[in-house]
Amino acid sequence: MRARIEVNGEVRDLELAPSERLLDVLRDRLGLLGSKEGCGRGECGACTVLIDGRPVLSCITLAARVRGPVETVEGVADEAVPLREAFADHGAFQCGFCTPGQIVRGVSLLRGGLPAEEGSLRQLMSGNVCRCTGYAGIVRALRQAESGSR
């Protein structure tokens, strides 16, 4: 079926099979390899992208059903420079496999403002599994990115 999807500000006309996942379309058809597949079942957050500004899981999203504009980690990379630097400053990544998903999720939170409470922030980041860092750096990096200070 024909579909028109806006990805990172660019409108793409694609011929899609109904069962094609957004993650595969991004990676294999559009060459946007930043989004990673960690589980394929919507359980780990590594494939997080924004649709209509909302964080969703591209591994359980059928591409043909996408109606709003999609932003991937490539699309938010510039906006996320302070957050990415903060990730580096705080050891918020080690292997980096979950990191694109963390960054995309982080950007969506920063746009709306972070909750003041540490516990709430941690809950809001709990859809993104990280097996390396124990999350401490991720939480600190978000705070740094918000305050703009190092």
């Binding site: 996320a80 990544f93 980096g96 097996r131």
Partner: protein, 1116 residues
């Protein structure tokens, strides 16, 4: 100074946007996709294997079986212990074992071809636990019996120690099977070049050398003909430090097909078939004299090896060395057996036997301290290893700041003050650890080689044959090269892995990366620096010793020269290239005595943990962790701190939740959603203290750090729990059932009675449950499952997007059509073989289903298509609903999932979801695996019939308490059902074919009541283990006028506890009333043996809900 600097990861710009290529990101033209045929049985003889149909299938380019490998076995640790073929030969020994593999043009073609392979198996009796495997007459997994290796160690003089002992304690400690769950599953891209006769490999590994070696061995190639290429590696934690059973298959397929082939394990395969941490059963005795000096330690150890050896012998051996080294004792006796079972094998995992040994040693140290009446830290300090010691196992401790670590942890956690709170529900515990810095468990482990190239532009490249699996090793090596060459680390790039360009290093394992690689790179960089200084000295006319390299220049007296210019002087080709090697002072274990200085130096740490134990639910809440580490000099504090925190987090996971669970040899929980590894909200602050000091042999004084962070953590938590509530848990993980069970035992509370004899409607179920272990389960499992209905996977052919509900319901009249809203359940269920729609009918395009409004009468009408997140953002939504939604799944799922979808989701029973041919998946001839399987958390304690599952929706629980009604539509018809009647079974609803849930209504009367929701779950985002929604109408005097108490996850459908409601009406919410009422429903329970604790936990949750509602009253 570059060493000691807080420098960013060298790849940070790429790693933070995912542009550094992982194996799945490397694109080669013509790449085929591989899939593996795995054994569906835990133990069986292969009667026949026919791949002709698969070979002829469309798109297939290669199929391999064990015939492609002959009698070859993996090398593993070499010698007679090698016991595994790359593909099963004649016998399969675990469920999931690789039997054949296919390479095809597309995933669908590869999967279709795998399905065409004709496989006939004759089942053999399986032994899936240590206990079964050791029974007399147990079926043999390999010829020669089920004990793969027996080891005895006699260190020092235990008899003398015993004579001196005035106190001794015994205990049995069980670690359980934890698994790595690297975020990147095991992945390989292989490309055979026929012309060159070379196999190119891109593979997610910590140790390219070992993969090359195994691949060359299995394929009969020279080592030089297998070339590894650099890729990013998405976590290793030991699992990728040796072969991971898929690389050879991918390579063989590529060679056979003559095309590049990619094999990426899916998450369930990664969980269920790759290696995990060995489960250890340790019977330990520790003795001490009057002053508390340790006298002796004896250990009887059984290690669950799984079906093949891999590094089992080495892991068991290493743990024994820890037993023989940790703390000063007179003697240590160890008897250890490595026991084969029909499960996927254990293997290397961060800590390598250390965590299992340390959990026993350090739990028992606290028990001993209790017996001696000593402070646990004082006891440890008294017996601590000190610098200069040589342990019984021959470890030469060149530096040891264990005492300082203990003191630092004591200080950081506020030990002295918090120890006074013992028994209050809050507690602190401590545990310490020792660990190697590189280990001589493999030939050549004592060596590392590295190259350094200084270029004419003054930049530097490090060439290193190991790999960086996420430990920041490239950054560490860049810092070291920069340090020696007087430049900034940012001006160094590091090339790893590449066979043609990098000198040999055995990789990142045994905590050797920084020490071994660091020394080798330092040697190479120092050698390059020496040559540059000489060239500068010549130019400046000074002695080389008067030349310093700093700021990218050589300086001597008043003269300065840029490094790049020097390179042109020092070498002819415009690049100064140096390779050097390093050999560490370490030795392999003497197999007869178990003695050796295994590692050049040893690290220490002590971790203190503060917990709060919820005595209502048994849940352990982590409040604080202080981790004090002696890793010598810290080369990069950012990386080091992240390593320790990550290690502690993984250790806390093993302490509190992570455990692989099996039934009939099949892994029950091969999914993130069933495996409680810590999410961000599950963890406390983890504070790291580095007790720094230079190690005499480490590079710049550095010692290891990567593994030790999780070694003591489990015991520290167990000790904290014991301190908090007086319950000693010796079997990991410390889940709520064990804590609550321990509390019940401690308080000598009588068992609950359920009066089944008075409840004829339960007799049939009681009988069935009685019969299950007496042959019924076996009958249904063995024979009944043969008649299980199967859902063949089908492609989705069409997605319809109706705008009107009438059209939607008309489309759904077709039996092949399935409604989809958020898709967060349907699409995973499709992968799980629980849904195979041909047509999807999108309900999110239907008008009028995506709004929430309040009617003029004060009712709330919630469109079924509203996402959970949108609902929570709606100001009109009742607080108790917002609270409930906030506890559902993850923020991402809440953005996608809808209210209707949440209510209609299928049951989440982990047997049903994860491939068991159960009663609900397969039909009436199949067993419910929960009856005898692990039903501690997610199964019913009342009302269950043949299926023990529950309705997983939290909204269902709360909406039932709010007297909500479900509005169902079919065509132009509407019908309304109270929520209680909407659910007909576990995750099953009253919806008929063609009928759609369009709206949920909450009546004004219920909205006027006060509500509360409480939920017990194992991790943030988990489904309920038990939940309670309370909705009370309180009078002006605080008396309860009307009540709804609904229990979630305790019965097949949301369970209205009317006895509790009756116990409340007309009374005020005083503590005795609450306590009595909360118990009132329990007489009607009918729990399974393993989930009776949920009755207690649910009572606790009811009390908490009611207390919360009562509190508001007394203060308001």
């Amino acid at each position: 100074m570059q060493v000691g600097r807080r420098i960013r990861n060298v790849d940070w710009p790429e790693r933070t946007v995912g542009s550094v290529p992982f194996t799945a990101d490397v694109r080669l033209p013509g790449t085929l996709v591989a899939r593996v045929l795995r054994s569906p049985l835990p133990h069986a003889r292969i009667v026949s294997l026919d791949v002709t149909a698969a070979e002829a299938a469309p798109g297939v380019h290669a199929v391999i079986t064990s015939e492609d490998f002959g009698e070859v076995k993996y090398v593993h640790h070499g010698g007679p212990l090698a016991d595994r073929h790359p593909l099963a030969r004649r016998v399969v020994r675990f469920l999931g074992e690789e039997i054949a593999a296919v390479a095809a043009e597309s995933p669908a073609q590869a999967e279709a071809a795998v399905a065409l392979i004709g496989l006939e198996l004759r089942p053999l009796p399986a032994v899936t636990t240590i206990e079964e495997a050791l029974e007399r007459g147990a079926p043999e997994i390999h010829s020669g019996g089920n004990v793969s290796l027996h080891t005895e160690r006699r260190y020092g003089d235990v008899a003398a120690g015993r004579r001196r002992a005035t106190k001794s304690v015994q205990g049995r400690y069980r670690f359980g099977r934890q698994t790595h769950v690297c975020m990147e599953t095991n992945s390989t891209l292989a490309s055979w070049d026929e012309e060159e006769g070379v196999l190119h490999l891109w593979t997610s590994t910590q140790a390219p050398y070992f993969i090359r070696k195994e691949v060359a061995h299995a394929l009969g190639l020279e080592l030089d003909c297998v070339k590894a290429h650099e890729v990013a590696v998405g976590g290793g934690f030991g699992s990728k430090s040796k072969i991971s059973d898929h690389e050879v298959l991918c390579a063989a397929l590529s060679k056979k097909a003559g095309r590049p082939v990619r094999l990426v394990l899916d998450r369930a395969e990664d969980f269920a078939t790759t290696k995990c941490r060995h489960d250890w059963d340790v019977r330990l005795e520790t003795g001490a004299d009057e002053e508390g000096r340790l006298t002796h330690r004896t250990a009887r150890i059984l290690v669950d090896n799984g079906a093949y050896n891999h590094s089992g012998p080495s892991v068991m051996g290493y743990g024994s060395l820890v037993m023989g080294s940790f703390y000063r004792t007179d003697g240590v006796d160890i008897d250890a057996d490595l026991v084969y079972t029909n499960k996927h094998p254990g293997g290397q995992f961060r800590g390598y036997g250390g965590p299992q040994a340390t959990f026993a040693i350090e739990s028992q140290m606290d028990e001993l301290a209790d017996a001696l009446g000593m402070d646990p830290i004082d006891l440890r300090i008294l017996n601590a290893n000190r610098a200069g010691d040589v342990t019984h196992a021959g470890w030469k401790l060149r530096s040891a700041r264990l005492v300082e670590c203990l003191e630092a942890a004591r200080e950081a956690i506020g030990w002295d003050e918090k120890r006074r709170l013992g028994g209050s529900g809050r507690g602190v515990g401590i545990a310490a650890a020792i660990h190697v810095t590189g280990a001589h468990v493999y030939e050549g482990a004592e060596e590392s080689h590295a190259g350094v190239d200084v270029r004419a532009d003054g930049t530097v490249r490090v060439r290193f044959g190991g790999a960086d699996a996420g430990t920041w090793q490239k950054t560490i090596l860049a810092q070291i090269a920069a340090e020696e060459l007087g430049i900034e680390a940012e001006d160094v790039d590091v090339l790893t892995t590449e066979t043609d360009e990098t000198p040999l290093d055995l990789g990142a394992w045994s905590s050797r990366g920084t020490f071994m690689g660091g020394h080798a790179v330092r040697a190479a960089a120092a050698s390059a620096a020496g040559r540059l200084r000489e060239a500068a000295a010549k130019k400046f006319g000074v002695d080389p010793s008067d030349v310093t390299l700093t700021g990218g220049q050589a300086r001597g007296g008043a003269d300065r020269l840029d490094l790049g210019d020097l390179v042109r002087l020092a070498s002819e080709n415009g690049e100064l290239s140096v390779e050097e090697s390093f050999t560490a002072d370490m030795e392999p274990v003497n197999p007869a005595t178990g003695v050796a200085n295994l590692s050049p130096t040893y690290s220490f740490c002590a971790q203190a943990v503060e917990v709060e134990v919820d005595r209502d639910t048994g849940q352990v809440k982590l409040l604080d962790v202080a981790a004090a580490h002696d890793s010598g000099t810290i080369i990069n504090p950012i990386a080091a701190e992240s390593q320790v925190i990550g290690g502690v987090a993984m250790g806390l996971g093993a302490a509190l939740g992570e455990e692989l669970i099996y039934e009939e040899g099949r892994l029950v929980n091969p999914a993130y959603i069933n495996y409680p590894l810590p999410r961000a909200a599950d963890l406390p602050p983890i504070r790291v203290v580095f007790v720094e000091g230079k190690d005499p042999v480490g590079p710049y004084g550095a010692k290891s750090l990567g593994e030790i962070g999780l070694v003591p953590t489990q015991a520290a938590v167990a000790n904290a729990v014991a301190h908090a509530v007086g319950v000693r848990v010796r079997k990991l993980p410390i889940t709520p059932d064990k804590v609550l069970g321990g509390l019940r035992e401690r308080d000598a509370r009588p068992r609950r009675r359920y009066h089944l004899w008075r409840r004829p409607n339960r007799w049939e179920i009681a009988l069935i449950r009685w019969l299950y272990p007496r042959g019924l389960h076996r009958l249904l499992h063995r024979w009944g499952t043969r008649f299980a209905r199967k859902q063949e996977p089908r492609a989705i052919e069409e997605i319809r997007a109706p705008e009107e509900i009438e059209e939607a319901t008309r489309l759904l009249e077709d039996g092949e059509a399935v409604p989809i809203a958020g898709g967060t359940d349907l699409l995973p269920a499709r992968r799980q073989g629980l849904a195979n729609p041909v047509t999807l009918v999108d309900l999110t395009t239907v008008k009028g289903m995506r709004s929430i409004l309040e009617t003029e009468y004060g009712d709330l009408r919630i469109g079924a298509g509203v996402t959970l997140a949108d609902a929570a953002r709606t100001p009109a939504l009742d607080e108790v609903l917002r609270e409930t939604i906030g506890r559902i799944a993850s923020p991402q799922i809440r953005e996608m999932a809808t209210v209707g979808g949440n209510l209609c989701q299928q049951k989440r029973c982990w047997f049903y979801r994860n491939g068991f041919e159960c009663y609900k998946r397969g039909g009436v001839t199949c067993p419910c695996y929960a009856v005898l399987g692990d039903h501690r958390f997610y199964h019913a304690v009342t009302k269950a019939h043949r299926c023990q599952a529950v309705t997983p929706s939290d909204l269902a629980t709360t909406l039932t308490a709010l007297d909500a009604e479900a509005v169902l539509a079919r065509g132009g018809e509407r019908r309304t059902l109270p929520m209680e009647r909407f659910f007909t079974g576990p995750g099953e609803t009253a919806l008929r074919r063609g009928e759609v849930l369009v709206e949920v209504g909450v009546p004004a009367a219920a909205r006027g009541r006060k509500g509360a929701f409480e939920k017990l779950r194992l991790w943030e985002g988990d489904f309920a283990v038990a939940s309670v929604a309370a909705s009370l109408d309180l009078g002006s005097g605080g008396e309860v006028r009307d009540a709804r108490i609904v229990l979630g996850a305790v019965a097949p459908t949301p369970y209205r506890a009317r006895e509790v409601e009756q116990g409340l009406v007309g009374r005020r919410l005083h503590a005795p009333t609450i306590a009595e009422a909360a118990e009132a429903w329990t007489g009607g329970a009918h729990p399974l043996p393993g989930n009776e604790w949920k009755v207690d936990a649910t009572v606790g949750l009811i009390r908490r809900c009611l207390s919360r509602l009562g509190e508001g009253e007394s203060t308001g």
